[in-house]
C-alpha cells in the first residue's frame, strides 16, 4: 500500500508528539546476543526445530475418543504450505492409526475393468507420476467457531492444511486396468475398518490429477495421513480423501455409502425429512465452497499497541480463489487484500493487507470470491440459502434459482475476530450469535453420523 507523503509526515509528527525518536518510530532492543550452542558430533539426519519453537497440533473437543484428531496451528504459520507434521487429522478410528508395512501394501483395481489388477507400492512408484499442491478441508471445519471455549483459529478452523501431494493418477491406474465405457463411478475403499468408503464420479476420477498419493511435501506420507497411500482429489471435501487406500472399485451405479450420504442427501427445509440429491453426479455437493479466515490477528494473539499490522489469512475453494476482501468494521465496508502468487486451484491462497490499527475495538473479517463468482456468505446468509433441488434447472429447495453447481457450503461462513482496545484478540462468534449457530446453518450442515436420526421432540 502506497503511503502518501502527506500522511507519512502527519504520522511522524504524531510520533514526535508522543516523544518518540525522529524517523519512523522503532522500539530499541539493546543487548548483544549470547546464544546457547549445540555441538554437532555427527550428521543430524533430520533437521529439528529450535527448542524455542512451540507450535504444535492440539485436539479441541471430545468425541469418540479421537486421540488422533489434531488441529493445525494456523495462527503460527506462514505462506501456504502446512509442514507435514502439522497437517490436521480427523480421527474416525477411535484413536487407532494403521501402521502398514510398505512391503505388504497392495492396491487393487476391480469391478468394471478389463483386467482387475493388483499393484505393490513399488509398482505404484514406477507408474507415471503426478503432483499437485492441494488443500484438504474437513467438511465440518469452522463449525466449532460458535462453540464455547473455541478461542484460536486453530480451534475454530484448524481442520484444513495444504501439502504438495504426489502419486499416481486414478486415470493412469484405470487406463492400466481398462475401464469400461459405461462405468460411471469409482469407489475408493480403505484398510481402515471404519466408515471410509467414498464414491467418485468418473469425470473426477479421470481428470488426471485425482490420485493415489504416496508422497507428501516430497517424502512419504506421515503415518496419520494414511501411510503409505491415500486418495487426494483436488477440491473435494476431506471425507472423500480416503486414507490407507486399498481398492478402486469401478461401478455403473450410484452407491451412496454411509460416507457418501453426508454430501449426497439434503435435509428438507420444512423438516419433512431428507432427499437424495440428483443422480447426476454434479448435483452432489462434493467440492468445497469458497472459504477464508484471517489467521493474524486472530484469537489468542495480543497486539502490542496501535500501529502498523499486516492482516494475514488463508482463502480456499473447490475451484480457484479470485478475490479476498477484508473488513475492519464488522462487515460494513470492505477492501481488497493482496493474494500471494501463484494463486493455485484447489489450494490455500495466502492473502495480506496493510493496516494501521488505531487502537479502537474492532471486528475484523475476510470474505472470499471464487471463480464462479460465488461470494463467501455471512452465517445468516448461509442459513437462508441452503438446500439444493435436484431438478436440472437447479432451483434450490427454497424455490430460488441457483445457477451454479452446488458445492459443500458447510461452515463456509464469514468468520469474525474481535480486537479489544488493549490489543487482546478473541473469538466474538458466541457474542455475535447469542442464540448459537443460526438454525439454517445447522440444517445445511446435514452431517450426522446416522442411517436413522433421532426424531426431535
Amino acid at each position: 500500500m502506497k503511503v502518501k507523503s502527506g500522511s507519512r509526515r502527519r504520522f511522524l509528527k504524531t510520533g514526535a508528539a508522543l516523544g518518540l525518536t525522529a524517523g519512523l518510530a522503532r522500539p530499541s532492543y539493546g543487548q548483544a546476543l549470547h546464544p546457547d550452542v549445540i555441538n554437532v558430533t555427527e550428521t543430524r539426519a533430520r533437521g529439528l526445530l529450535s527448542k524455542f519453537e512451540k507450535s504444535e497440533r492440539i485436539r479441541f473437543r471430545q468425541s469418540n475418543n479421537p486421540n488422533a484428531t489434531a488441529l493445525t496451528p494456523l495462527q503460527d504459520l506462514n505462506g501456504i504450505i502446512t509442514p507435514s507434521e502439522l497437517h490436521f487429522v480427523v480421527d474416525h478410528e477411535n484413536g487407532v492409526l494403521l501402521d502398514i508395512n510398505p512391503e505388504d501394501y497392495r492396491l487393487q483395481i476391480t469391478g468394471m475393468v478389463d483386467k482387475p489388477l493388483e499393484f505393490t507400492l513399488a509398482d505404484l512408484k514406477r507408474m507415471p507420476s503426478v503432483s499437485s499442491i492441494n488443500v484438504l478441508t474437513c467438511g465440518s471445519n469452522g463449525s466449532d467457531a460458535f462453540r464455547k471455549g473455541a478461542q484460536t483459529v486453530q480451534q475454530t478452523h484448524g481442520r484444513t492444511s495444504t501439502s504438495e501431494w504426489s502419486g499416481v493418477s486414478f486415470k493412469s491406474l484405470l487406463e492400466e486396468a481398462g475401464v469400461h465405457k459405461d462405468a460411471k463411478w469409482v469407489i475408493a475403499m480403505a484398510a481402515d475398518p471404519s466408515d471410509h468408503v467414498s464414491s467418485f464420479p468418473m469425470e473426477k476420477a479421470m481428470d488426471g490429477v485425482t490420485m493415489a498419493a504416496y508422497a507428501q511435501n516430497g517424502e512419504s506420507l506421515r503415518i496419520d495421513q494414511g501411510y503409505p497411500v491415500r486418495v487426494v482429489a483436488p477440491g473435494y471435501t476431506g471425507r472423500w480423501l480416503v486414507k490407507w487406500l486399498t481398492q478402486l472399485y469401478v461401478t455403473d451405479d450410484t452407491y451412496v455409502t454411509r460416507q457418501d450420504g453426508f454430501n449426497m442427501t439434503d435435509r428438507m427445509p420444512d423438516g419433512r425429512g431428507y432427499l437424495l440429491a440428483s443422480e447426476q453426479s454434479r448435483y452432489f455437493r462434493l467440492e468445497t465452497t469458497a472459504r477464508s479466515v484471517i489467521t493474524f490477528p486472530s484469537g489468542g494473539h495480543q497486539l502490542p499497541g496501535p500501529g502498523y499490522y499486516e492482516i494475514r489469512g488463508l482463502a480456499w475453494t473447490g475451484g480457484i480463489v479470485k478475490r479476498v476482501e477484508i473488513s475492519v468494521d464488522g462487515g460494513e465496508t470492505w477492501r481488497d487484500a493482496k493474494l500471494q502468487n501463484p494463486v493455485l486451484p484447489y489450494c490455500h491462497t495466502r492473502f495480506r493487507m496493510d493496516w494501521e490499527w488505531d487502537g479502537q475495538e474492532r471486528i475484523i473479517q475476510s470474505r472470499c470470491t471464487d471463480e464462479k463468482g460465488y461470494v463467501q456468505p455471512t452465517p445468516d446468509e448461509v442459513a437462508s440459502t441452503w438446500g439444493v433441488d435436484s431438478s436440472p434447472e437447479c432451483f434450490n429447495i427454497m424455490g430460488e434459482y441457483c445457477n451454479q453447481v452446488p458445492r459443500d457450503t458447510h461452515n463456509s461462513f464469514i468468520m469474525s475476530w474481535k480486537i479489544a482496545a488493549n490489543g487482546e484478540v478473541t473469538n466474538p462468534m458466541q457474542e455475535l450469535y447469542p442464540d448459537g449457530r443460526p438454525e439454517g446453518l445447522s440444517h445445511y450442515y446435514s452431517g450426522g453420523h446416522a442411517f436413522f436420526e433421532e426424531d426431535d421432540h
Binding site: D253, T257, Y274
Partner: protein, 163 residues
C-alpha cells in the same frame, strides 16, 4: 452370488474387449488378479445388490445378536447409547448401504468391549440389518432378509410425524 458375479464379469470382460467396448492402454505394470482373488475380496454393496452374498436373517434373530454385540454402543432398541442412534428418521434411502456398512465396519473396534470389525457372518449381517429396519418400522419382526428380499425394501425418507 459372488461366483456368479465373477463368471459374469469374466465373460463380459472377454466380450467387451473383443468388441472394443473398453479402453486399455498403459505401461504394463500391475499384476493380473486371479478369479479366486477377485472372489475373496470384500466389495462395497450397491443398490442393485450384486455384491450381496448368500445368507439370510430376520429381525428376531438380529435382536439376539444386537443384545450381545451392539447394545453397549447403540443402546436398547437403538436409542440412548453412547454412539449413534439407530432409530428415527431415515437419512439414506438404500437398505444396501446399511447392509454394506454393518458388514465392513461393525462392531467398531473399541478396547473396552473387545469389539472387532468384519467378524459378523453374512447371516448375522442380514439379521442385524433386518433388526434395524424392524425397529424403524420398515419391515416385520419375522420377515426374512436375503440378497433378493433386501432389494425390495423401501426406506421412506420422509420424517415420521411426531405424535
Amino acid at each position: 452370488m459372488r461366483k456368479y458375479l465373477c463368471s459374469l464379469l469374466s465373460v463380459s470382460l472377454l466380450l467387451m474387449s473383443q468388441l472394443g467396448l473398453s479402453q486399455t492402454s498403459g505401461v504394463g505394470l500391475g499384476r493380473n488378479m486371479t478369479d479366486e482373488e477377485i472372489n475373496k475380496l470384500m466389495y462395497t454393496v450397491g443398490p442393485k445388490g450384486v455384491e450381496l452374498p448368500s445368507g439370510q436373517g430376520t429381525a428376531r434373530e438380529g435382536e439376539k445378536i444386537y443384545t450381545q454385540s451392539c447394545i453397549f454402543c447403540h443402546g436398547p432398541e437403538g436409542l440412548n447409547g453412547p454412539q449413534n442412534t439407530l432409530k428415527g428418521s431415515p437419512r439414506l434411502p438404500m437398505p444396501t448401504s446399511l447392509w454394506d456398512y454393518i458388514h465392513r465396519a461393525m462392531p467398531r473396534s473399541l478396547a473396552i468391549v473387545g469389539a472387532q470389525e468384519r467378524q459378523l457372518s453374512n447371516d448375522e449381517t442380514y439379521a442385524l440389518t433386518a433388526y434395524i429396519l424392524y425397529i424403524n418400522g420398515v419391515i416385520g419382526h419375522d420377515e426374512v432378509m436375503n440378497a433378493e428380499s433386501l432389494l425390495k425394501v423401501d426406506i421412506p425418507m420422509e420424517k415420521k410425524p411426531i405424535d
